[in-house]
């Protein structure tokens, strides 16, 4: 069983898909609105995720990430109080949700640089992205006992 967000595609195919979808949008407002749409469409878990134990500090907005290892795969649920951050979460989940911890740890996350998002987000929000990725990797490492 693969994660709900990854739709059976490999990590690399998921990354290629995101680059194709976002990399071609030059207009910043259009790109922003694309992220907002993704954020609105993100299937968010219930309100019980919004607990301190799941919160990720260092994001401009509040972010919660909860993971669960099932059948050897890391299932990730995440939420934010900011729609743009939920859009970023949607992209992260396409890459990481439902993968094995080893896959997550072995993957070089290239979508944010390749789509320009890393450079185009304000430093504070780009920091939040780093914090979220780090949390997912930490959870993956913990799931492998590492």
């Amino acid at each position: 069983m693969t994660g709900a967000q990854t739709e059976g595609r490999s990590i690399e195919a998921a990354q290629d898909g995101i680059v194709a979808e976002l990399g071609g949008i030059d207009d910043l407002m259009e790109k922003y609105e694309h992220l907002i749409r993704l954020g609105r469409e993100l299937r968010v878990p219930g309100p019980d995720i919004r607990r301190d134990e799941h919160s990720v500090a260092g994001c401009q907005s509040r972010v919660w990430i909860r993971t669960e290892l099932r059948d050897g795969r890391l299932h990730i649920a995440a939420d934010s109080d900011a729609t743009i951050t939920r859009g970023i979460i949607a992209l992260l989940l396409r890459v990481f949700d439902g993968r094995t911890p080893d896959e997550i740890l072995a993957t070089e996350l290239r979508v944010f640089e390749a789509t320009g998002l890393q450079a185009q987000l304000s430093p504070a929000r780009a920091n939040g992205l780093v914090a979220m990725v780090r949390r997912i990797r930490q959870e993956a490492a913990a799931a492998t006992g590492g």
Binding site: L28, M29, A57, R62, L121, S122, A124, R125
Partner: protein
């Protein structure tokens, strides 16, 4: 781009300011808004009421979120001014792309507004102590080596020399906060220890010191999150140096981020410190800038003083202590909330999205709603004094006359079981 914008004359802008109809936006760098005369204009500062929205930020995808957070609305006219056409055009383009149609340009700032003494300008009272990267770059010796002419540049960090070694501003000396604060109490060290540490760096009472740090994603799950909160460390060192009696202490606005954003050179060479032998004044030279436990208790009992908790909401209501080395949770009864942001290593509510210091009007307005006003004695505290120091430095930049850091903070307060504490949402606060 700006040819399609309506133009306002100086008189028209004055009239609009008078009736409060326009939303005025300053497209110049944040330091110009603060008061720096970056292009040699006769008077520095911003047109009263103008919101800072530097053209630099127009490159951010999430720009519109900044605009909304400042309450700039599309149904009212937006008047843009800057140093030049280019700045105005870049910001106007973003406004247009976001559906703002009522835009106008004022291009008379340099030629008419700044030179005319009769026209008002606002500025951050001590803006010279919050320096732009360009000012610092002009003062560093070409080819590296320690800064000269009485200027000492310090790259602040906490037990993280690697943060300095991987790249720093040329001429900067590494400054571990442990040199200035004690790892037992996390308070400033004794006057003798601080004096010796400063002399070792070549700092005397008459030096100009510039401090900065690098923000590198502190995570509260790390064993030493403070090691990644370099700009917060810089504010901490700035407070201790002001207290010690260094008369000209400055912080690089935005820290290392501003330096690299400006495309300036980064070095991995460590210059030799040039130790000094005489500090030139008694230490501490400004003891009133620090409040210790007895004074903190007096402040709590005083009708015209505040003990300001510069902590996050989960810390303030006692859900978390905020630190992996502090067990007790809660707040000092009677303290007022000076909300820092997300956690013990972040100051989002005091900074812009590029880590520069937020518009001082915005900070002062948030403080005022909590009863933190310049007529009172305000002592800022947090867990061990870093966030308290950044908030203190902001108030000091604003020229507030009676500000201090309550150095001991929650760490000291909570370590004595005889001291009272509270948890939960205080009466009168929205949860």
């Amino acid at each position: 781009m700006t040819e399609r914008l309506g133009r306002l004359s100086t008189r028209e802008l004055r009239d609009r300011l008078g009736d409060g109809a326009a939303q005025v936006v300053d497209a110049r760098p944040i330091d110009a808004w603060n008061g720096w005369r970056l292009r040699g204009e006769p008077r520095g500062g911003h047109i009263p009421g103008a919101r800072a929205l530097p053209a630099k930020w127009s490159g951010y995808l999430d720009w519109i979120e900044i605009v909304r957070s400042k309450g700039i609305r599309p149904d009212r006219e937006v008047v843009l001014y800057g140093y030049d056409e280019d700045e105005i055009a870049r910001v106007a383009e973003r406004f247009r792309g976001a559906g703002y149609e009522r835009l106008a340009a004022y291009d008379g700032f340099m030629a008419e507004w700044s030179p005319d003494e009769a026209l008002p300008l606002d500025r951050l009272a001590r803006h010279e102590h919050l320096v732009p990267a360009s000012w610092l770059a002009d003062r560093l010796p070409a080819g590296g080596g320690a800064a000269d002419g009485g200027l000492v540049l310090c790259h602040a960090h906490y037990r993280n020399r690697g943060d300095y070694e991987k790249g720093h501003i040329p001429g900067a000396l590494p400054l571990d906060t442990l040199l200035l604060e004690s790892p037992e109490t996390w308070n400033r060290r004794s006057p003798d220890e601080v004096r010796e540490a400063l002399l070792g760096l070549g700092i005397t009472a008459g030096s100009t010191v510039v401090l900065y740090g690098r923000y590198s994603f502190p995570d509260n799950r790390d064993p030493f999150p403070g090691s990644s909160a370099g700009q917060l460390a810089a504010f901490r060192c700035a407070f201790i140096m002001l207290w010690a009696g260094v008369r000209d202490v400055r912080v690089l606005n935005g820290g290392f981020q501003s330096w690299t954003d400006a495309g300036l050179e980064v070095s991995t060479e460590e210059p030799q410190a040039r130790p000094a032998s005489e500090f030139g004044a008694d230490v501490p030279g400004a003891p009133e800038l620090a409040a210790d436990l007895p004074e903190a208790k007096e402040i709590l009992a005083s009708p015209d003083a505040n003990l300001v908790s510069v902590r996050s909401w989960p810390e303030y209501i006692g859900e978390v202590s905020g630190y992996n080395y502090i067990e007790k949770t809660g707040r000092i009864p009677g303290s007022v909330f000076g909300n820092c942001g997300s956690d013990a290593y972040h100051m989002e509510n005091y900074r812009n999205l590029d880590h520069t210091t937020r518009e001082y009007h915005e900070i002062a307005a948030a403080w005022e709603s909590a009863g933190i006003t310049p007529d009172r004695r305000n002592a800022f505290y947090c867990g061990t004094g870093w966030r308290g120091s950044e908030a203190f430095f902001n108030a000091w930049l604003m020229g507030w006359p009676r500000v201090a850091v309550y150095d001991g903070g929650w760490f000291e307060w909570s370590s004595d079981p005889a001291n009272p504490f509270e948890t939960g949402v205080p009466p009168g606060h929205a949860a």
